[in-house]
């Protein structure tokens, strides 16, 4: 019985807070450059920091802002990540 109650209670709490967060995420949404999301999807996502940035997201932001060249991603070098990023940036260049 104890297990049922505790599971139930945690499920209700989790659901309530999840709903609250989902609502506030929509309410406080920040419009980001859609290219950042695309570049991030092309990266390996290891968050290794070899590029000198705090993670893949920070690197993607820097690439889109033009602060760094796309070929700085060391783990993605073998699978041609740099070419993919260049392709994304070329196709979605702001007019």
């Amino acid at each position: 019985m104890l297990i049922v109650y505790s599971t139930l209670l945690m499920a209700i709490l989790g659901f309530a807070f999840g709903t609250f967060l989902a609502y506030s995420a929509k309410k406080f949404e920040v419009k980001e450059d859609p290219r950042v999301e695309m570049v991030k999807a092309a990266l390996p996502g290891a968050n290794c920091g070899a590029c000198g940035y705090a993670g893949c997201e920070a690197f993607a932001k820097a690439v889109v802002a033009g602060k760094v060249t796309p070929d700085m991603c060391t783990p993605g070098r073998a699978s041609g990540v740099a070419e993919k990023i260049k392709e994304i940036l070329k196709q979605n260049a702001p007019s």
Binding site: L2, L9, M10, L13, L21, S24, K27, A54
Partner: protein
Amino acid sequence: MRVFLILFSALLINNYVFIRFLGICPFLGVSKKLDTAVGMGFAATFVLVMSSVITWFVNKLLVAAGLEFLRTVSFILVIATFVQFVEFVIKKNSPSLYEALGIYLPLITTNCIILGVAILNAQAKYSLLEAIFHALGAGLGFLLALVIFAGIRERIELYELPKPFEGLPIALILASIISMAFMGFQGLIKL
């Protein structure tokens, strides 16, 4: 009257940073600049007060159901929710503060002051009002600690220190000296 005793006790006499040595990670991490220190202090205070209100009700629920062993898990859930909420708000309203706080903003979740206050509230069986004032005192105490420390650190940056003391070592020495100063408040109020 008792609530003000609790407020000042948490703020000065049992200052969470200098006397109880909780929340040292953000205390050393974001005290390099005064404005980020103030932002961090207010963010932590907001999370503290909001989470102590919710955890007070959650604790009542847990005690009523005889599930006190779930205290830590459910309190962390509440705290994480509010930290995430604060992150949304800061990201929307103040991107520069969001950048400056960086990893320390989500790390408020693991700030021991916040879990510590929630658990101390539950253990001391505080009423809701007392719990809110306890959290407010703890938050303002954290803000005070950060502001004092950031002010000193900004100034110490300008001096030429012996090489081994540069950066964190001198910060730790300073923290210990301020901590000793705060010990002077001991015995000011008998609670």
